[in-house]
């Protein structure tokens, strides 16, 4: 591969990693903070894309409004999953499965068909010069990570951290852990849905199947980052989610360039996840470390 090819590959890695890193960031809130193995994201990503696509293609809504709307719809979806668990007393895994299934139909209803092309609509990303796109997307993603770090260092953030690890402490402090679970899932799915909307803008379409396997790849990115960063502090956990997203996407791109048969891509992702998990556990055990966050899965 020539230099130009490598550069263009790196640019697309940065762009895609920045977009999908928001899903990984969502996992920090749902999986790691409140310990909720939330499968909703498998569908709420597409929900974000669908909401965005339908708003920019049919109405005269601006892309910015459509992005915000996508985020809000995702937050509602996440809250509903959490409510099924908190109020309906359905198990965490099943609550996620129920919402994931329901959202599939909802996504079809939103779009009215299984695929919407956005070729003719105005997109904020298209307005940017190509060489600036990776930078803008990366800075955008970083600002979300920065905001999350800020939030998690407030008292509310402390409560979110305590909620998954020591729920009894939340009770002792006179707070409601149900509320914190709802909040965490709203944030996680809001981020995921927002990420889906950006992805729709980036790819120029929204498709009902665009988030298939997303949970595994986002989880793989998180674990990969954690295996590298050993998140003993909050900063390192967020850094792990960020770096993991990039390394995962890079590995994925390299895999594609090495002409791994598309059929076998999921095998590669599965192997990568398994290896990362084993490596992470081995490092943690050997160093006697205590990592930030709960092992939701």
């Amino acid at each position: 591969m020539d230099i130009g090819g490598i550069l263009s590959m790196l640019a697309s890695v940065i762009e895609l990693a920045s977009i999908y890193s928001l899903v990984t960031l969502g996992l920090v809130f749902s999986f790691r903070m409140v310990g909720f193995a939330d499968l909703t994201i498998e569908s709420s990503f597409t929900t974000g894309a669908a909401v965005y696509a339908i708003l920019v293609s049919t109405s005269s809504g601006s892309p910015l409004t459509a992005l915000i709307a996508a985020g809000v719809v995702g937050m509602i979806a996440g809250s509903l999953t959490a409510l099924l668990h908190v109020k309906g007393r359905i198990s965490r895994l099943l609550s996620g499965i129920i919402m994931m299934t329901v959202l599939y139909s909802v996504n079809l209803q939103i779009m009215g068909k299984s695929n919407i092309q956005l070729v003719s609509s105005f997109s904020m990303l298209d307005a940017l010069p190509t060489h600036l796109r990776p930078l803008v997307l990366a800075v955008g993603a970083m600002s979300f990570f920065g905001a999350s770090l800020f939030l998690l260092r407030t008292h509310l953030g402390y409560l979110l951290r305590a909620c998954g690890e020591s729920p009894q402490v939340i009770t002792k402090l006179g707070h409601n852990s149900g509320f914190l679970v709802i909040l965490a899932l709203a944030i996680a799915n809001g981020l995921t849905s927002f990420s889906g909307a950006i992805a729709a803008q980036y790819f120029g379409y929204s498709d009902i199947g665009m988030s298939a396997g997303l949970i595994v790849s986002a989880f793989a990115a998180l674990i990969l980052g954690e295996a590298i960063c050993s998140p003993r502090t909050l900063h390192r956990l967020l850094l792990a989610a960020f770096i993991g997203s990039f390394i995962y996407r890079l590995a994925f791109e390299i895999g594609l360039r090495m002409h791994i048969h598309p059929w076998n891509l999921k095998i590669a992702v599965g192997l990568l996840l398994a290896i990362s998990l084993v490596v992470k556990q081995a490092i943690v055990k050997r160093r006697g470390q205590l990592l930030v966050g709960v092992e939701a899965l």
């Binding site: 003993r232 205590l290 930030v292």
Partner: protein
């Protein structure tokens, strides 16, 4: 408070700390009924510390983060990390335990020893200035060197700040050294209530009265 297994000690402490909401009767704190109070109100005046450190503190959070988590009563979010003023207060409080905790504010609580974990938990609840402190087998699983130190901090704090302490323990040495009143529970009822009026309780007396109750209830 002592009593055989299943006599209702933990249940009573849970009711007193607002952990159980449906029960017969009433809880009064400072003469005011607390049963109708919200969890938030409860958590300000009553603090419960349990045997398992994971139920009192968050293991992956540092000593300082745990104390800051507890130190705030109000609504969130507050910018905990911007408030550096409280650090001196936290250090002074930790110094009382003589475990060198004040120099390890950024250590994760989960990596400390059992005694140190409970010391952090005790410091944390003291920051909330409770009126009532409930200790449920609080010192049961920590080393015999740390237990007396923690107990003496509890006693000092109770005297200084007028905190009412209700301690459940199986360790008669602790009971003997600590209380000015001993309640013996059996089958969910107060079987004996001994006031010592400032005198140290004799272990032999505790044992004999406790045995009588156990026999009467068919436990011994």
């Amino acid at each position: 408070m002592i009593g055989p297994n299943g006599s209702g000690k933990t249940t009573l402490l849970k009711i007193l700390s607002g952990g159980i909401e449906s029960f017969e009767g009433n809880v009064f704190i400072d003469g005011r009924s607390a049963t109708k109070a919200k969890a938030r109100h409860f958590s300000r005046s009553v603090q419960l510390l349990e045997q398992s450190p994971e139920r009192n503190t968050v293991p992956s959070m540092t000593i300082e983060e745990n104390l800051r988590l507890y130190s705030r009563n109000g609504r969130f979010p507050s910018l905990s990390f911007l408030n550096k003023g409280g650090t001196e207060k936290i250090k002074r409080l930790l110094a009382r335990f003589e475990m060198d905790l004040e120099s390890r504010l950024s250590s994760q609580v989960g990596l400390l020893s059992g005694g140190q974990k409970q010391a952090v938990a005790l410091a944390a609840v003291l920051l909330r200035s409770p009126k009532v402190l409930l200790l449920d087998e609080f010192l049961a699983s920590i080393d015999p060197m740390s237990a007396p130190k923690l107990l003496s901090v509890v006693r000092e704090a109770a005297a200084e700040r007028g905190i009412t302490v209700l301690m459940v323990s199986h360790d008669l040495t602790q009971v003997e050294a600590t209380g000015d009143r001993l309640i013996i529970l059996a089958n969910g009822k107060v079987a004996d209530d001994i006031s010592t009026e400032g005198q140290a309780m004799k272990r032999s007396e505790i044992v004999s009265r406790y045995s009588v109750i156990l026999e009467r209830n068919g436990i011994l």
